[in-house]
């Protein structure tokens, strides 16, 4: 019994430490402009004041939409691509397919700085630099390794006999994919979609380097700009930070199990 109490005590201490940033976000963003003073910095707000949310939303709403326009198509395309690649690389192996898989996988570990200069040059030359479609292409391509990994690991757990049986029933390679694999792969789709949505929504480097016009910038870049500005009050920055966090947090709350699966897939072994 005493052991249990100590255990809970320690777990709760950690819980509080982990929640400090959440407290700061909430408390600061819910204060009015006149209430933000040094002395009361850490205190709870006197009442709920949504001034800073209105002000932050006004500054960020365009960027919020940009992030949706970017994230949704990029996520869908990547998941579809991954499901096909994973199917082929697990159920239709050919000579060299494992090596190809390894080479693809390496792409998710590289520091993107090492491809950034050519990426900018190529996007510029095909007219996609500084646009949302340019960012979509970028995220889809550099997302290939992780989505392929997620689906390949998933299909590896599906017995080969299912593919054989479907072949005997007269299905070809596409038939098996559309009638069988796509249906049983729904959990893998959820993992891939949750993972890609969250990472693309939260991503900063590509967004920052590839877009300069505030009207096409995703929300992470807009928030970083707010935070870098001397003229934007803390409470507006915090309100903005909370606004950005809403979509990934909703996903995490409702689909957390799948999010963790994607996370663990990232450490290669499925």
């Amino acid at each position: 019994m005493k052991k249990k109490i100590i255990l809970y005590f320690v777990l709760i201490i950690f819980l509080i430490i982990f929640l400090v940033p959440v407290y700061v976000l909430m408390v600061t963003s819910l204060k009015g402009f006149e209430e933000v003073s040094l002395a009361s910095m850490w205190n709870l707000p006197k009442g709920l004041n949504f001034q800073s949310f209105i002000s932050a939303f006004d500054k960020l709403k365009g960027n919020f939409l940009n992030s949706l326009y970017l994230t949704i198509p990029a996520t869908v395309i990547s998941a579809l691509l991954g499901s096909w690649n994973g199917y082929i690389l697990s159920k239709w192996k050919f000579r060299g397919s494992d090596i190809i898989f390894t080479l693809i996988l390496f792409g998710m570990f590289i520091p993107y700085q090492s491809i950034l200069i050519p990426l900018v040059l190529v996007l510029r030359s095909i007219g996609l630099y500084g646009s949302i479609p340019g960012l979509i292409v970028t995220h889809v391509i550099y997302g290939i390794p992780i989505v392929t990994l997620i689906f390949r690991n998933y299909y590896a757990g599906v017995q080969d006999e299912i593919v054989e049986a479907s072949k005997i029933d007269g299905s070809n390679i596409f038939g098996t994919y559309f009638h069988i694999m796509l249906r049983i792969a729904i959990p893998a789709f959820v993992v891939a979609i949750v993972w890609q949505f969250t990472s693309i929504w939260n991503e900063y480097l590509f967004a920052y380097v590839l877009t300069h016009n505030p009207r096409v910038q995703p929300i992470t870049v807009a928030l970083a700009n707010l935070a870098g500005s001397e003229y934007v009050e803390w409470n507006v920055q915090m309100a903005g930070a909370l606004i950005i966090t809403i979509p990934p947090l909703l996903i995490y709350i409702f689909l957390g199990r799948y999010f963790i699966k994607g996370l663990l897939a990232g450490s290669v072994k499925g």
């Binding site: 693809i104 990232g266 072994k269």
Partner: protein, 302 residues
Amino acid sequence: MKQSRKERTIVILTITPSVVAVGVFVYGFIAWSIRVSLSDWIGIRPDYTFAGLKNFISLFKSVRFLIDIYNNIFFTILFLAICVGGGLFLAILLDQFIKGEGIFRTVYLFPLAISPVVSAVVWKWIFSPKVGVNVLLTNLLSKIGIERTVEFGWYTSTASFGPFNIALIPIIIAASWGFVGYVMAMYLAALRGIPAELKEAARVDGASEFKIYMKVILPLLKPITLSALIILGHISLKMFDLVYVMTGRGPGFVTDFPSIFMYETTFAANKFSQGAAISLVMLLMVAVVIIPYLTMSLRRET
């Protein structure tokens, strides 16, 4: 599985777009960056005049890059120690099958769903010398009757411990906050995979709970520790968003990283050839960690 010639053709044709995309955008672009790093390209207009290893030599002579490497090493050591130690600790606590486990797990893991830009904004406030922790400490002191204003410099501090900058500590805390849960999840998944009989057997032999963990469980977790070290290590070597938004390079480069140096050299100063050189040193550092890991985990699989 036996494949007909027609099937083989379909397989090859449909996998080609992805293979070509990765081939060009990863391997082709790396080769291109290498070419840029060996050139004299300064300014907006591309200039591929061959310049040999000049950019790499000047890089290793530059004071800023030396500071960046030290910063990165210091950051990596502490970040790994906190995440692996903390992650293991929390995983063992949560492995005791307690009520409300789900709530604890959810809270410890949620920072992973949050953008590094958001963490940067919050932690910047917490460790800002003007607001945040300093104010909290000052208020606490005055409550117990000591009237003194706490004025730690935190991430603006230029104090150092040998070659290691104290200013990095707030960033290490922010980064660890984000990743402790990840390591915890890895360990917890592994702990749950250990057959209960193993623990039972040790218990029957009269081993204490502590001893069971030290002698039976921990050795089984070694591969997870290795994975965690490699995954976090490579993340820390390429860390950009969190640091860049939270502090930038800092006064006298106290919080500078190779990734920030690369960005500023390339896209602010237009010294493309030097920026490419920095990015390739980063790639090399990551490759040294990742390539053995990748070949190892795939060999194990086949």
